[in-house]
Symmetry: C2
Subunit: 153 residues, 2 copies
Amino acid sequence: MKQKQRKQYAEEFGLAFEQFGITRMAGRILGWLLVCEPPHQSPQDLQDALQASKGSISTNTRMLERLNFVERISLPGDRRTYFQVKADAWSGIMQTEVVALEQFQNMTRRGLEQMDNEPEEQRRRLQEMHDFFQFIQKELVTMMKHWEESKTI
Amino acid sequence: MKQKQRKQYAEEFGLAFEQFGITRMAGRILGWLLVCEPPHQSPQDLQDALQASKGSISTNTRMLERLNFVERISLPGDRRTYFQVKADAWSGIMQTEVVALEQFQNMTRRGLEQMDNEPEEQRRRLQEMHDFFQFIQKELVTMMKHWEESKTI
DNA sequence: TGTTAAGTTTAGTAAATATTGAACTTAATG
DNA sequence: CATTAAGTTCAATATTTACTAAACTTAACA
């Protein structure tokens, strides 16, 4: 893969991950870190590769770090920080997903609480939503367990 | 549930669903349709309840319809259109999820294709991402199957 | 301890997105 | 048919969000 292709890939990755809710720049960084050589890159490297400002690289690497996609490493005799994609970067996505589902779950629960003494017919709409999200949440958790198992074997 | 509570609920719902990627107004409409009485509402009803413009109600109900959250019904001797939440509104969310995952999947595949003749060590990062998403995708599909089964029983 | 490099934070700006309001289309009813 | 109501579309505006550039902080090294 040529350097130019990598940059192109980072751009596409940025666009694709925008839909996922992270900024385009964070997506570009992540895409770049997936294909770059070497796999660890300094903020300056990222700046050059992606033609972005220092500030933007800083905020977005922090965000990727917080979301568990990327980790920060240091090298002996080197003042700089390097970033690389985390080994278990992807299962974090599902963790995030579970948290989001919990929030929806809370929405339905709060609604149902306020309908305590209304007829089932009136509560049905929220009840259905509640049941579905409860199902999904449980399934996602076992799914992740399966994944962890398949990795350790 | 008092009318005022319902409006309040719609507002909270709008905020919560914003994170999910739909507009705040679409979220408000959905939230309102989950608790309103009767369960079907005309655009005018929605306008009054949510204090929104005709245009915004129109665009957002269409969006909710397209996303399969809401359906349009008509009543005899009534010129207006009514909206109500669809019975299977929620499983659609997962369907959307599967489609999104497919896109990420495509991203990884295209990357790996461009790395055809590079050492495994270099491809590893993308390969891991690929494997994970493949796993999730399969699991989600069977999960939805379980859900469908649990409903028909 | 002064100088420089690395990284963070923040104010300002640019870009994107949602909402309104008004013009337009379509169809129902007197 | 003419009039009115219902709904859609679109241009303008308001709001939000991302990015840059510059100021600031921290720490390494001469």
